[in-house]
């Protein structure tokens, strides 16, 4: 039982790590685009939601063992 829990925990952390990598890169790309062309992204949606996903996934991916 403990092994299953530890395994799923490891899976969740690795999944969160991948989510973090993609979301932070997407956010940085959108941020740079918005800096050069104001309105390119924010005319359509608020990119801070992607940053929130990155932050949450970063917290989940922290290895506290």
């Amino acid at each position: 039982m403990a092994a299953i829990f530890l395994h799923s925990n490891k899976f969740c952390r690795e999944a969160a790590r991948r989510v973090f990598r993609v979301s932070i890169l997407v956010f940085i790309g959108l941020f740079i685009g918005e800096c050069f062309l104001p309105g390119l992204v924010t005319n359509w949606f608020n990119p801070v939601w992607i940053l929130i996903i990155a932050i949450i996934s970063a917290i989940i991916s922290q290895d506290n063992d």
């Binding site: 899976f11 999944a15 993609v22 104001p38 309105g39 390119l40 005319n43 359509w44």
Partner: protein, 172 residues
């Protein structure tokens, strides 16, 4: 083994989503029809178009914006490749006359007020006016351009202009 496959699927899904988001942003900013239509919403700001202001010169009534004084402004945020703007306004004069709409041409209070290129009567006393602008001639700061709707009183009493619709169409 199974978790490795699931992680691979997750990675592919995330990368696919990122590519999809980029493709969607590209198609939104470069519409295939070469025009972007922005209908004004009089009671709130939108990302590309603010509401009419200042508030003291505007009154909302039955979904229409009433212009009580002169001038009234709105801000448009558009990307550099949109070179032309058409403003279509459906309005009714009520002891207040529409003089035109002008884009800001320099810092401060400098507006080039233009008369409509077309102005035709509609049913129930409303009129439809169309204004065309070359956005290269309109002063902009961080892709934001300000426009003024210029009006004047027709008689001794203060009148108003009822705006039923205000639609901005950007062309690239």
């Amino acid at each position: 083994m199974r978790s490795q496959i699931m992680l691979k699927i997750l990675s592919l899904t995330l990368i696919g989503s990122a590519i999809g988001l980029s493709a969607w942003l590209l198609s939104a900013n470069f519409p295939r029809s070469r025009q972007l239509v922005i209908p004004a919403v009089f009671d709130r700001d939108q990302p590309m178009l603010t509401r009419l202001g200042p508030d003291i010169r505007i009154k909302m009534e039955n979904g229409e914006a009433l212009i009580l004084d002169d001038p009234v402004y709105f801000d448009l945020r558009s990307l550099p490749w949109f070179s032309r703007l058409r403003v279509t306004m459906v309005y009714r004069e009520n002891s207040r006359l529409l003089q035109g709409i002008g884009g800001q041409v320099g810092a401060g209070w400098q507006y080039d007020v233009k008369t409509p290129v077309a102005n035709q009567p509609l049913a129930d006393g409303y009129r439809q006016a169309i204004f065309d602008f070359n956005l290269a001639e309109v002063y902009q700061q961080k892709n934001v351009r300000r426009f003024a709707i210029s009006t004047k009183d027709a008689g001794a009493d203060a009148g108003e202009i009822d705006i039923r619709k205000l639609i901005l169409t950007l062309y690239w």
